[in-house]
């Protein structure tokens, strides 16, 4: 990425600090991903994206801006990307997934804040990630307390629009969210200078739905035994989908799904037939957080599905494409997004239903319910998750962790003990 140094300098990045991250990435990616055997050829694209991770897509975004387009950074799967693309903008998920950025966040945030929030704030304040410096506006939300207050601090640095996510799912909450989407449309129109019509919104809905369909295909392939793709690889696909161009993302995911379906026909798997099948459920894993998947899969078990924002919650449920008026489309968006079962909602028993359903669809042997350290919402919810799963004889273990290397061996022991329980 020698060519990109100029681009990074122009963005005002701290090149010295950034170099430190650049240094660990090849080893990290190599040790975690490239040691795998028999990866689908379709993963070549995603390997390429990682190799040029701070180059290719940022360059595309800058080009878009040069041509008068606007870029929006987002932090939650509740933000309707469709609105941004309908106005000719680019939306990209920005959540930080590396320990590298956490100390930057800790300069302004309390230490007992979720690492995802700390990393997201740190990436911007330390100027060590191009994705954080390019957007014309951040679209944030008040899903959890940590984020709600962190945005107040970050909002001093970059123009921000906050979407008020309801805390319940009654009819009046869906109506309230509809109103938020309308507001959001107004803001995006103002920033981009483009009017959103039912045509453009209709097109955008199809665009994002296509990406969802493609990811669903990739995931469906993981229901097979032997599983044709590793959980690490599937996670990487999902993570990259958060910020790549939606049309290309869908195409690449469909290519991969074609190959996986072929593998299923041939009986080609990347884990032996009798490998333990694990579901990971809980808080999202922003790129490059591959820690838990790596621990589980190095112990010989396959992660076959993720019930998280970097998993099924990202693409399950399509937006109803039959709406033809703007009102109808906004309603359809609100209804689809409000189906996402995040712990920031109460009650959230629907997430437990999802976990049980997915456990059956993906023929899961055990569930690891995980949350990032200090996430009160998911860690409290884990009590009910455990209760419900234990009643149904579904083995579950709970892991709370952060991005650091410190607890690697401890986690390994716990996961190993859990797998020993399952292997009997």
């Amino acid at each position: 990425m020698a060519d990109y140094r100029e681009m990074w300098a122009d963005l005002g990045m701290d090149l010295e600090k950034h170099d430190v991250l650049c240094e660990v990435l090849p080893e990290a990616f190599g040790g975690i991903y490239l040691t795998q055997q028999d990866r689908p050829k379709g993963m070549d694209f995603y390997d390429f994206v990682v190799s040029e991770i701070h180059g290719v897509r940022p360059a595309e975004m800058l080009q878009h801006q040069k041509e008068g387009g606007k870029v929006f950074g987002t932090f939650c799967v509740y933000v309707p990307d469709e609105v941004v693309f309908a106005a000719g903008g680019i939306a990209a998920g920005l959540c930080g997934g590396s320990q590298f950025w956490v100390s930057g966040g800790e300069k302004v945030l309390p230490a007992n804040t979720c690492p995802l929030i700390k990393a997201s704030v740190g990436a911007r304040l330390d100027k060590t990630c191009p994705f954080f410096l390019i957007p014309d506006m951040y679209v944030a939300e008040n899903t959890c307390d940590g984020k709600k207050k962190a945005w107040e601090i970050l909002g001093a640095e970059v123009p921000m629009h906050i979407i008020d996510i309801p805390q319940m799912k009654r009819d009046r909450d869906i109506a309230a969210f509809e109103a938020e989407i309308r507001d959001f449309i107004g803001v995006v129109e103002k920033v981009t200078g483009n009017k959103i019509t039912s045509e453009s919104l209709g097109e955008a809905i199809k665009l994002i739905n296509n990406k969802r369909r493609a990811l669903q295909r990739v995931y469906n392939a993981r229901k097979a035994s032997p599983v044709p793709i590793s959980g690490k690889d599937a996670l990487l696909v999902t993570q990259i989908n958060f910020y790549d161009d939606p049309a290309r993302a869908a195409q690449m995911a469909n290519n991969l799904a074609d190959e996986l379906e072929q593998r299923i026909n041939n009986g080609t798997g990347v884990f032996p037939n009798n490998a333990v099948r694990i579901m990971i459920s809980g808080t999202p894993m922003a790129i490059p957080n591959w820690k838990l998947h790596h621990i589980v899969e190095s112990l010989g078990a396959a992660v076959v599905v993720e019930e998280s924002c970097t998993g099924t919650r990202y693409f399950e449920n399509l937006v109803d494409e039959s709406a033809t008026t703007l009102d109808g489309q906004i309603r359809a968006l609100a209804e689809r997004y409000m189906k996402t079962n995040c712990a920031c909602f109460t009650p959230n028993s629907a997430r437990i239903d999802d976990i049980v359903r997915l456990a059956e669809e993906y023929k899961v042997d055990g569930i690891i319910d995980t949350n990032l350290q200090f996430c009160n919402l998911y860690s409290t919810e884990s009590y009910l998750v455990k209760k419900a799963l234990t009643e149904r004889n579904l083995p579950v273990m709970h892991i709370e962790t952060d991005y650091s290397e410190q607890d690697f061996e401890q986690l390994r022991t716990r996961v190993e003990a859990f797998l020993e329980m399952l292997r009997k």
């Binding site: 061996e409 401890q410 003990a417």
Partner: protein, 254 residues
């Protein structure tokens, strides 16, 4: 078939050799090289049993040092090993409390040591052997002397959660003339409270066993019983249950 189980802990390495009805045990400080400690354990077991290394059919290793030890046929977690070991010694046990050098665990088992749930504290020294080690040093005692030196009648409750601050607290308490026996009872209570809380969250099913290096300490046993409210069984071989479990698993692996 002759098998060996090795439990390489943070403080001590333990070994168990099973030769039909003949059992042999070995225990040494782990020191800085888990690999060498494991090796020495094997040598000691062979010397004690009078056997040659090629007569040993299988070696299983467990404990924090298992990753570094390369001469075993298989590594198994301490959770599974303690479960198997205790099930052998006390078949009626359904909850195991294990307090080791640098972690504490609660393991729920069913018959034959089948693990159904477990919880670990391995992030904080409080509630582990390390806590007692630090405190013993501060009191000028060997950690093995703590159990016999406590005086629960003169209990001096420790308020600090953190090992480092607790150390300052007891030094201050001693300086103010508070009875040493009471302070030690307070230390045991501190450990008991923390581990009991973990056990309660897991759900306690009788019978309950207490194992690991710290189980030698009758004061901690007393404190646990007080917190949990049930009688607790402590095996004579409490330091060896992990190694025993490993040796049994090696034997049963077909």
């Amino acid at each position: 078939m002759i098998t060996i189980g090795i439990d390489i802990g943070s403080v001590a390495a333990k070994g168990y050799l099973l030769n039909r009805e003949h059992h042999y045990r070995a225990l040494i400080p782990t020191g800085w090289s888990p690999r060498e400690a494991g090796q020495t354990i094997i040598e000691q077991l062979l010397a004690a049993s009078g056997l040659d290394s090629d007569q040993v059919k299988r070696i299983y290793v467990t404990g924090y040092g298992r990753v570094a030890f390369d001469r075993a046929d298989k590594t198994v977690t301490e959770i599974k090993c303690h479960a198997r070991g205790i099930a052998e010694l006390f078949p009626e046990v359904r909850t195991i409390i294990d307090i080791g050098g640098q972690d504490s665990k609660v393991i729920r088992i069913e018959e034959r040591g089948r693990v159904v749930d477990f919880a670990m504290n391995d992030k904080c020294a409080a509630g582990t052997g390390r806590f007692l080690q630090v405190m013993a040093n501060a009191l000028g005692l060997d950690v093995s002397e703590l159990g016999g030196a406590e005086d629960p009648e003169q209990m001096q409750t420790i308020s600090s959660m953190c090992t480092v601050f607790a150390e300052s607290e007891i030094i201050g308490s001693l300086a103010r003339g508070n009875p040493k026996g009471g302070i030690i009872a307070g230390l045991h209570q501190s450990v008991g409270k923390r581990v009991a809380a973990m056990a309660r969250r897991m759900g306690i099913k009788e019978q309950v066993a207490f194992t690991g290096g710290v189980a030698i300490n009758p004061g901690v046993k007393r404190a646990l019983e007080e917190e949990i409210g049930v009688e607790i069984m402590v095996p004579e071989a409490c330091q060896y249950t992990g190694a025993l479990g490993a040796a049994l698993l090696a034997l049963e692996s077909g």
